[in-house]
């Protein structure tokens, strides 16, 4: 079978980084260590593992960062090469059931007993054994050489990773379950903050998901969102943000909503919680400007190495917390909550384009420019690939 494969090739990695710097994100796919090539299907890693046929697989911001050569070196020891990327996966079992994969490769998938402390509490996203056990290192399916990934026709999944897709979700909605679970996990950090004024930076898949999840699950009082493009602004509004403005007006909108004064660019009050769904140095700096002293910043977008002035973080006693993936929430399993939210909000429309695998360069470029092309989520459609062959 043919799949997209990411290999450890330092020169290509550097070339794609250069290309993405010069020509923008997604431009380096041709030069990057990713290629569409023939591979064999590996053996199942052990008991409880299944081979699944991929139907749709999304292109995520973290995939783009990897292809652009911009992801942090932090991940080097918790991925294994070569790997088939793709962790937002809708697939079919041998029996024909539609499933989505919860991609974190935690203790249970690695046959590790006893489970580490976070896994034993259901917080698999915090698993302490991502580099050990029966599998090669890999924080998720799509970053591990043992399991394959969603950017190929077949993927291997442990039974603990598999969630059946309810009939009321289309394939397009199902492929959003994984990213929406990330958003739900982040948004639920606002639980218990009734009446809070919440700021959301970024209106890509994650940002829109956070807005949807906040309005679905959290009784916050006001959601103020910054969205760059008109279609993002429209969607943010539809999904529950009360105030949606362009990035240049964001600070003013939060200032007004929080009846804040200003000194320089800093709000004297500001948002109770800010969700940074971008993860760049400028978005983190902006989050620090608009979050009230003593408030919280939730990092949702995957950051890389950044340069940020942390003086306000210190002086304003702001709490910064990461929000990675999903697991078990006080309201239940995050994937289940995401499915519930997707059905309630009709989020399938976020899928803007589908590409066959062999057009991966185009697909990656489109995903990187999705906002500017009136889109949100770009996915690979593997069934099309199979029928083409």
């Amino acid at each position: 079978m043919k799949a997209l494969v990411f290999e450890r090739k330092v020169a290509r990695y550097a070339a794609s980084r250069l290309a993405s710097t010069i020509k923008g994100s997604g431009s380096g796919a041709k030069l990057s260590p990713i290629s569409f090539q023939e591979i064999g299907t590996p053996d199942l890693p052990g008991e409880g593992w299944h081979e699944l046929d991929v139907v749709l697989s999304g292109i995520c911001g973290s995939d783009l960062a990897t292809i652009d050569g911009r992801s942090s070196r932090y991940y080097e020891d918790i991925v294994s090469f070569p790997f088939v990327p793709g962790h937002e996966i809708v697939a079919k079992t041998k029996e024909g059931s539609r499933v989505v994969i919860e991609p974190v490769l935690h203790c249970a998938t690695r046959s590790i007993q006893p489970l580490c402390s976070p896994c034993s509490e259901g917080n698999t996203q915090l698993c302490q054994n991502l580099a050990f056990g029966d599998l090669e290192p890999g924080l998720q399916t799509g970053y591990c050489s043992t399991t394959l990934g969603g950017w190929g026709p077949k993927v291997l999944a442990h039974e603990s990773q598999i969630h059946e897709v309810p009939d009321n979700l289309s394939d397009e909605e199902a492929v959003l379950v994984e990213p929406m679970a990330c958003s739900v996990h982040a948004a639920l950090k606002a639980l218990g903050e009734d009446g809070a004024k919440v700021a959301v930076i970024g209106a890509g898949t994650l940002g829109l998901g956070v807005i949807a999840a906040l309005s679905q699950f959290c009784p916050v009082s006001t959601i103020i969102a910054a969205a760059k493009y008109p279609h993002q602004q429209r969607m943010a509004k539809q999904l529950g943000a009360e105030v949606v403005v362009g990035p240049s007006s964001f600070r003013d909108a939060i200032r007004r909503a929080s009846s804040s004064m200003m000194h320089g660019p800093w709000l004297t009050a500001g948002a109770d919680i800010t969700f940074d769904c971008v993860g760049s140095s400028s978005s983190i700096s902006e989050a620090l400007q608009v979050t009230k002293p003593g408030g919280r910043i939730v990092m949702v977008g995957m950051p890389g190495p950044t340069k940020v002035d942390l003086a306000p973080f210190w002086h304003r006693e702001i709490k910064m917390e990461g929000s990675y993936a999903y697991g078990t929430e006080s309201l239940g399993n995050t994937f289940k909550l995401a499915m519930e939210m997707i059905a309630a909000k009709g989020l399938g429309a976020l899928v803007s384009a589908k590409y066959p695998l062999h057009r991966y360069e185009e697909a990656i470029r489109h995903a990187a420019q999705a906002g500017g092309r009136d889109g949100v989520k770009v996915v690979f459609e593997i069934t099309t690939e199979k029928s083409r062959r």
């Binding site: 105030v243 403005v245 007006s249 909108a253 200032r255 007004r256 009846s259 804040s260 004064m261």
Partner: protein, 528 residues
């Protein structure tokens, strides 16, 4: 003898008509049969303005003794004056306010009045700068009062400086500047540029608070003012008059001094702006070409600063003093004498060229909200009788309408444009949903009180000024405007006048009547 206003009916031989276009101009060929309405020529000014002022102060109108009889040693005298929003453009020195205030101060000094305070009647406008105050009052007055803290600017948000006088029979709160309210006499010094100014609006609005002003600056009142230039048919004025009479009954004593100006609006270098195009001499054509070409090559910021330095040569045509209503009656007649132009019947399409300046952007930027207000709030309302354009007609205006704001003067405008007009342009919805939060915003309040910012609620009032026109018109088209700004305002952008007429044809058909309002100089269309 100055010629009265004139309505020209164009034919094929009519030269192109000049349209103001912000900090520039456009020459447009109007279809044959269009009407062009020209302002009356400037009236002859008073021969001796200072003598006329003395005369007015000594021979007041209405039930009011001459000013010297009101001035006693030991009394508290407050002199309030119109702010930087008048006149337009700012006039060459000496400003009417300087002439009048110097005369009043001289009489006060002669009478031994020591406790004199000057107050710029800002209402909810921005504070004036030192230069602007010096320009309005003259250096002598400024230097005598400002260093001693006796030249103040009304602060509608200072709870200690505002006093609640009571409520009118309509339940309208009447609040007033404490110093003024507790004075033995308020002398108000006005410049009447248009018929809307002056009268009870001077003290009742200029020295009032938001709580008071909101009773007449609201959508209902604005849509029931037809027009603002006709006091008897203006709900805005009815409310102001109720408040003014309430103040009088409460014992607040006002000696009103109103002055009017002629329409000699632009200096010699821009003489062509005041002439009818077919009467342009070679010199006018050369001036026009020179100025236009130079402006075409000038960055907008520089062009703005060139125009902001223009001082108008207009001169005083009348001065009257005394009891507020009696004074204002004479003033209004004098304004009408200068500005009324008789126009027969309404039109399907009303065209206008918007200049660079309005009351709220002196030394600033005519931002998109002010563009809307200039067109729909002011020029549309420069009528008496009935609107120049018929109900359901189309308004076409020319202005670049850049997405540009002065953040010092108009901070709440920026947020209004970004956060309110992006949601709705319906004045009633805007008023109900957003007004209070802007009006009470602590940051805008801080900037209004300590900087040079308009009050947080001010952009709302600009939009309410438009509400009569918005209700009356079926379409508003902006020629040459930034399409993004124009669309945000809820209007239609067009590249050329031809395109605009094409867009308008959906509403008014292929052979509409067209009337062009050739202002400034300012005028009032007396529509029969």
């Amino acid at each position: 003898m100055p010629r009265p206003g004139f309505v020209l009916e164009t034919d094929k031989s009519t030269p192109p008509t000049m349209f103001w276009n912000g900090e520039g101009f456009r020459m447009e060929k109007l279809p044959s049969g269009s009407r062009v309405i020209y302002a009356p020529e400037p009236l002859k000014p008073l021969d001796d303005a200072d003598a006329s002022i003395q005369q007015a102060l000594l021979n007041p109108a209405g039930d009011m003794p001459p000013l010297p009889e009101l001035l006693k040693p030991g009394m508290r005298l407050t002199i309030a004056f119109d702010d930087v929003s008048l006149p337009l453009p700012p006039m060459k020195r000496p400003d009417n306010r300087q002439r009048v205030i110097e005369a009043v101060l001289e009489m006060a000094a002669r009478a031994g009045v020591d406790d004199v305070v000057l107050i710029a009647a800002l209402a909810l406008h921005r504070r004036m700068t030192e230069n602007e105050l010096r320009h309005a009052l003259g250096d002598r007055v400024y230097d005598s009062f400002a260093p001693h803290g006796l030249l103040t600017q009304h602060d509608a948000e200072d709870p200690d400086a505002i006093v609640h006088i009571g409520k009118t029979e309509h339940g309208e709160d009447v609040e007033l500047n404490r110093r003024a309210a507790e004075s033995d006499l308020i002398v108000y010094v006005n410049i009447n540029l248009v018929a809307m100014d002056g009268g009870h609006k001077s003290v009742g609005t200029g020295l009032a608070s938001y709580k008071s002003i909101k009773h007449h600056h609201n959508v209902k009142t604005m849509t029931h003012s037809k027009s603002f230039m006709d006091q008897e048919r203006s709900e805005l004025h009815s409310s102001n008059w109720r408040m003014g009479r309430f103040l009088k009954d409460a014992g607040v004593k006002i000696f009103q001094i109103e002055t009017t100006l002629n329409t000699d609006t632009f200096p010699k270098e821009f003489a062509f702006l005041q002439k009818r195009e077919w009467e342009w001499k070679l010199r006018d054509r050369v001036s026009y070409m020179g100025v236009s070409k130079a402006l075409d090559r000038t960055p907008p910021r520089v062009a703005r600063s060139i125009f902001n330095s223009v001082l108008s040569p207009h001169q005083m045509t009348s001065v009257q003093a005394g009891e507020v209503e009696a004074v204002h009656k004479i003033t209004t007649e004098n304004v009408y004498r200068q500005q009324l132009v008789e126009v027969e019947g309404q039109t399907d399409i009303f065209t206008m060229g918007l200049p660079y300046i309005g009351p709220y952007n002196v030394n600033s930027i005519l931002n998109p909200i002010l563009v809307a207000c200039m067109g729909l709030g002011y020029f549309f309302n420069l009528y008496r009788g009935k609107p120049l354009v018929r109900q359901g007609g189309v308004l076409i205006m020319t202005h670049p309408t850049p997405w540009a704001f002065n953040p010092v003067h108009h901070p709440s405008y920026i947020d209004f444009f970004d956060q309110v007009l992006s949601e709705t342009t319906d004045p009633l919805v805007i008023e109900a949903k957003y007004e209070e939060s802007f009006a009470t915003d602590p940051w805008y309040r801080h900037l209004y009180r300590t900087g040079h910012a308009y009050h947080g609620v001010h952009p709302f009032y600009m939009w309410y000024w438009c509400s009569h026109a918005l209700e009356h018109l079926s379409r508003v088209i902006v020629v040459g405007g930034d399409p993004r700004s124009v669309k945000r305002l809820g209007f239609h952008p067009a590249t050329t006048l031809g395109d605009a007429l094409e867009i308008a044809s959906d509403v008014v058909g292929r052979n509409p009547s067209i009337s062009h309002f050739h202002a400034p100089p300012l005028m009032i269309a007396d529509v029969k």
